[in-house]
C-alpha cells in the first residue's frame, strides 16, 4: 500500500513540477546559505580561539599562584617536571609544554622597544601547538648554538628588523640585575594572537635560563587535551593535585574570545531559526494549496475505500519528498561550498588592517561539522512535518467526500 501512496505522491508532485522544483530550490538555497554562513563564521571564531590556544593558553595553563596579576621571576612553577609526570600519566592529555617569560627590552643600533621574552623549546612547541605553522618569514630554528630568536610580526615591523639581523635583548634577571644577550633574528611569527605578535621574542629555553639566571622553574605550563570536553574534569583534577597553583582554562585567560564564541552561537541560532521558519512557511503554502486543489481527488479516494490515515501518510510523504530533495540539494551545494572554503579559505587580505584589529587571520578557512548537517536535517524534518499539519486539519474538516459533488 505504501508503494502505491508513494507513487501517487510522486505523480502529484510531478504534475506541478515547476512548483515542486521551486519549493525544493527554496529549501536548497536556504540550507546552502545557512551552511555556508555557519561554517564560515565558526571557522572564523574557532580560528581566533585556536590561535590563542595553540600559541599561548593551551586548553589549560598552570601558573604559580597570582602570577597573572603580578608576573615576575619570583612567581615560578618550581617543579614543572613533577607536573609533567602527572600530566603524562593522564591519558586525556595530548601534550604539554613549559615556558619561561619575562618582560624586557629589545634593541638594535637604531631602535629599542619593550618586549616580552619567552624561553621556549621549539620542538616541543611545534609538537604541542604547531607553532611552526605561524612562521611568516625565515626559519623555525634557533640554530646549533641557540643564538636565534623568533620575533612577533608586529614587533619586527616596529623595530624595522628582518630575518638575519642582530638584536640585543635585555631583561631584569632573578638577581635584579639587568642582563643582555645578543641574538640573530631567524624567523618572524604571525600568530594573530595580538599579545604575542606585538611583544614576543621567542628564544631558546636554555638561553633564557642563562639570561634570566633561572636554572629551574618555569612561568607557565600549557596543556592540550585530546578532547575539549574534558577540560573541566582535567582542570579539576589538577586543582586538587596542585592546590597551590593557578590552573586556568583558555576561556579564563581569554574571556573575550569565549564571549565572542557565545555571541556567534546565539547569532547563528537566531539566523537559522528565522530561515527555517520562513522556509517552513513556504512549504506550508505549497502543501496547503496542493491539498486544497485536490479535495475532489481525495474525496474519490476516500469513497473507494482509502482510509484517511493513508491519505495523511501520502500528504506527509509528499511534503517529505519536497523537504528531503531540498535538503539533499542544499547539503550538496553547501557541503561543496564549505569544502572549497575549507581547503582554500576566504581571502580577506584587502581588509587585513581591520581583521588584525580583531586578531583574525586574513584568510578564513571554513569549518565543516557533522552537526551542521544533522541539525539541518532535523530542522527540515520539523519544518516539513509542521507545515502539513494545518493543511491536513483543513482537509479533515472539508469532508472531501462532499467535495466530490462540488463544481
Amino acid at each position: 500500500m505504501f508503494r502505491v501512496l508513494l507513487r501517487i505522491a510522486l505523480l502529484s508532485l510531478r504534475r506541478r513540477l515547476s512548483r515542486s522544483l521551486l519549493v525544493i530550490a527554496m529549501i536548497a538555497m536556504s540550507l546552502w546559505g545557512l551552511l555556508f554562513m555557519e561554517g564560515l563564521y565558526d571557522g572564523m571564531t574557532e580560528q581566533v580561539i585556536d590561535n590563542a590556544i595553540r600559541s599561548d593558553s593551551g586548553d589549560l595553563s598552570l601558573f604559580a599562584r597570582e602570577y597573572r596579576l603580578d608576573p615576575g621571576l619570583e612567581r615560578l612553577l618550581a617543579e614543572p617536571a613533577e607536573i609533567g609526570r602527572f600530566l603524562d600519566e593522564d591519558s586525556r592529555v595530548r601534550s604539554h609544554v613549559s615556558r619561561l617569560r619575562q618582560d624586557g627590552l629589545i634593541a638594535t643600533a637604531h631602535y629599542s622597544r619593550n618586549a616580552v621574552i619567552y624561553g621556549v623549546d621549539l620542538g616541543a612547541e611545534d609538537r604541542h601547538g604547531r607553532l611552526a605553522s605561524y612562521l611568516d618569514a625565515g626559519a623555525y630554528d634557533f640554530g646549533d648554538k641557540g643564538r636565534g630568536a623568533l620575533l612577533g610580526a608586529r614587533l619586527a615591523t616596529k623595530m624595522k628588523v628582518t630575518v638575519g639581523q642582530k638584536i640585543v635583548v635585555s631583561a631584569q634577571n632573578s638577581a635584579n640585575d639587568v642582563s643582555a644577550l645578543s641574538l640573530r633574528v631567524v624567523g618572524i611569527l604571525k600568530t594573530n594572537n595580538m599579545a604575542l605578535d606585538e611583544n614576543a621574542v621567542f628564544i631558546e629555553m636554555n638561553k633564557a635560563r642563562e639570561l634570566l639566571m633561572v636554572p629551574e622553574g618555569v612561568s607557565q605550563l600549557s596543556v592540550l587535551l585530546y578532547n575539549k570536553e574534558k577540560v573541566a574534569a582535567v582542570q579539576q583534577g589538577l586543582r586538587v593535585r596542585f592546590p597551590e597553583l593557578d590552573v586556568l582554562g583558555w576561556d579564563e585567560l581569554y574571556p573575550a574570545l569565549r564571549q565572542g564564541r557565545e555571541m556567534m552561537e546565539i547569532f547563528n541560532l537566531i539566523t537559522s531559526l528565522l530561515v527555517f521558519c520562513v522556509a517552513g512557511l513556504g512549504i506550508f503554502g505549497v502543501m496547503l494549496v496542493s491539498v486544497l486543489e485536490r479535495l475532489r481527488e481525495f474525496g474519490i479516494m476516500l469513497a473507494i475505500g482509502t482510509t484517511f490515515r493513508e491519505i495523511r501518510t501520502m500528504v506527509f510523504v509528499e511534503s517529505f519528498i519536497l523537504g528531503f530533495s531540498g535538503y539533499g540539494g542544499g547539503v550538496l551545494l553547501g557541503g561543496l561550498t564549505l569544502l572549497y572554503f575549507y581547503n582554500f579559505g576566504l581571502d580577506l587580505t584587502m581588509f587585513s588592517a581591520g581583521l588584525d584589529a580583531f586578531g583574525m587571520d586574513a584568510i578564513t578557512y571554513a569549518l565543516i561539522r557533522p552537526s551542521y548537517f544533522f541539525t539541518a536535517l532535523a530542522a527540515v524534518s520539523v519544518a516539513t512535518l509542521v507545515s502539513v499539519l494545518l493543511p491536513l486539519r483543513i482537509l479533515k474538516k472539508a469532508r472531501p467526500i462532499e467535495a466530490i459533488n462540488k463544481i
Binding site: 515547476s18 519549493v23 547569532f267 528565522l274 530561515v275 486543489e293
Partner: protein, 407 residues
C-alpha cells in the same frame, strides 16, 4: 487607474495570498530596517566610544609626530594653532594636551606611565575623561599639583584619593621635571591599558613644571557635526601652518574603521541569506495565486484582453501590495530603530569582548537615519516586486486555451 481598481479588487479577492505576501514583505522590511539600524548604530557607537574616550574626532599634531612622537615634534606655538581653531567655523570645542612619559613613585613602588596636562573645562566637552570619574573629583582649570589618575594605575601604585605620590619626568626643554602630586580623583574608562598608565593634571600647572608654556603634544577638536570630521580636518590643513597636520579619526583609527566594515559585510551576508529564503517564499506564494487564477486569466484572454494588459494588472497588484508592506515594514522597523535609539540595548554579557577591542561599551543604541530607512525600503520594494515577476510572466505566456483548461 482601471488597473489599480482591478488590482485592489483582486487583492481583496485573494485575501490569503495577499495577507501572506503583505506579512512577509512587511516583516522583511522591518527586519532589514532594524538590522541595518542596529548594525550601523552599534558600529557608530563603538567607534564613537573609541573616539570619544580619549583620541578625539580631529587631532592636530606636528606633522612628524605620528612617526616620531618625540619632544622634537611637538606643537611649539600652541597660541597660533589656538587662533586658527578659534576662527575656523564648524568647531564645537577644542583643547590642547601636553603628554609626557614619566615615572610615578608611590610609597612602595615606581611605575612608568603617561602624565598629561589637560585643560579640564574644555576637555570635559571633548572626551569621556570627566565622566569616567569613579571616586574623588575631576580636575578644575586652576588646580595645582592635583592628579586625576586611572583607577588601575592607582591600584598599581597602591594610592587612593587624598594620597600623595611623586612623578619624575623630562621637561619640554629636557630639564628634569619632578613634583609631588595629590590624588584628586580616579577614573575608569574601561580600557585597561589606558586606566593602568594614564594620569592627568591641569595644563596650566603642568606647563610650569614641564617648562612647556605655549607647547602642546596635540590639540583635539570636536567638530560641530562629528560626521564631517574629514571635511573639517581638510579645512584645518588649509588654514594651519604647514608643519602641522590635522587628521580625522578615520585616519587615526583606520584599523578599527575597517574592522567595522568587515563586520558590516558579514552582517549583510547574513541578511542576504535570510532574504533569499524570504523571496523564494514570496515567489512561491505569487506562483500559487497566479496559477490559481489561471482560468480567470484564460477567460480574460479569451474575451480579448491583451497579454500586456493582464501583465499590467498583475504587476499593479504586486506593486500595490509591495508598496503597502514596504511602508508598513518601514514604519515598524523605523519605530523600533527610533525606540532603541532612545533606549539603547544593553549587552552585559559581552562587556569583556568589547573591552578587549578597546571599545568599552556594552549599551548599543540603534542608528535612526530616515534616509537609510528609505533606502532599505526602496531595496525591499524592488525585491518584492521583482520576486513576483517570474510567476507573472510565466503565467502570462500560457495560451488562453491552456489557461482555461488549467486544473
Amino acid at each position: 487607474m482601471m488597473f489599480v481598481h482591478f488590482a485592489m479588487k483582486n487583492i481583496r479577492a485573494y485575501r490569503n495570498r495577499s495577507l501572506v505576501t503583505l506579512l512577509l514583505t512587511t516583516l522583511t522590511t522591518a527586519l532589514l530596517v532594524f538590522a541595518t539600524a542596529f548594525m550601523d548604530g552599534s558600529h557608530q557607537k563603538m567607534l564613537q566610544n573609541a573616539v570619544e574616550i580619549y583620541p578625539g574626532y580631529v587631532q592636530v599634531t606636528h606633522q612628524d609626530f605620528r612617526d616620531q612622537p618625540s619632544l622634537d615634534n611637538m606643537i611649539f606655538d600652541a597660541k597660533a594653532v589656538r587662533q586658527v581653531l578659534a576662527t575656523t567655523p564648524g568647531i564645537a570645542a577644542f583643547a590642547a594636551r601636553f603628554e609626557s612619559f614619566v615615572l610615578f613613585a608611590g610609597a612602595e613602588k615606581a611605575v612608568g606611565g603617561m602624565l598629561t596636562g589637560i585643560e579640564p573645562t574644555a576637555e570635559e566637552k571633548l572626551s569621556r575623561l570627566a565622566s569616567s570619574l569613579v571616586s574623588g573629583a575631576y580636575l578644575a582649570d586652576h588646580d595645582g599639583n592635583q592628579l586625576y589618575m586611572g583607577y588601575e594605575l592607582a591600584r598599581r601604585l597602591k594610592v587612593k584619593v587624598g594620597d600623595e605620590l611623586s612623578f619624575v619626568g623630562t621637561g619640554a626643554d629636557y630639564s628634569f621635571a619632578a613634583d609631588n602630586l595629590l590624588v584628586k580623583g580616579l577614573f575608569k574608562t574601561g580600557l585597561f591599558e589606558f586606566d593602568a598608565s594614564a594620569a592627568f593634571v591641569s595644563k596650566g600647572y603642568f606647563d610650569q613644571v614641564m617648562a612647556a608654556a605655549n607647547y602642546a603634544s596635540h590639540f583635539i577638536v570636536l567638530p560641530a557635526n562629528p560626521s564631517g570630521a574629514d571635511l573639517l580636518a581638510a579645512e584645518l590643513n588649509g588654514r594651519l601652518d604647514q608643519q602641522y597636520l590635522a587628521e580625522s579619526w578615520r585616519t587615526t583609527m583606520a584599523g578599527l574603521v575597517q574592522a567595522m566594515l568587515v563586520d558590516s559585510i558579514f552582517g549583510y551576508l547574513t541578511l542576504a541569506v535570510i532574504f533569499i529564503v524570504i523571496f523564494f517564499v514570496i515567489l512561491i506564494y505569487t506562483w500559487l495565486t497566479v496559477f490559481a487564477r489561471m482560468r480567470e486569466i484564460g477567460v480574460l484572454r479569451a474575451v480579448g484582453t491583451m497579454p500586456g494588459q493582464i501583465l499590467q494588472m498583475l504587476v499593479t497588484e504586486s506593486v500595490l501590495l509591495a508598496m503597502a508592506s514596504v511602508v508598513l515594514g518601514g514604519l515598524i522597523g523605523g519605530a523600533l530603530a527610533y525606540y532603541f535609539h532612545l533606549h539603547p540595548i544593553y549587552f552585559s554579557f559581552s562587556e569583556e569582548q568589547f573591552k578587549q577591542y578597546g571599545l568599552a561599551a556594552s549599551s548599543m543604541p540603534t542608528a535612526f537615519a530616515p534616509l537609510v530607512i528609505l533606502r532599505d525600503m526602496a531595496v525591499m520594494f524592488v525585491l518584492a516586486v521583482g520576486s513576483t515577476l517570474y510567476p507573472i510572466i510565466k503565467a502570462n505566456r500560457v495560451s488562453p486555451m491552456e489557461a482555461i483548461h488549467h486544473v
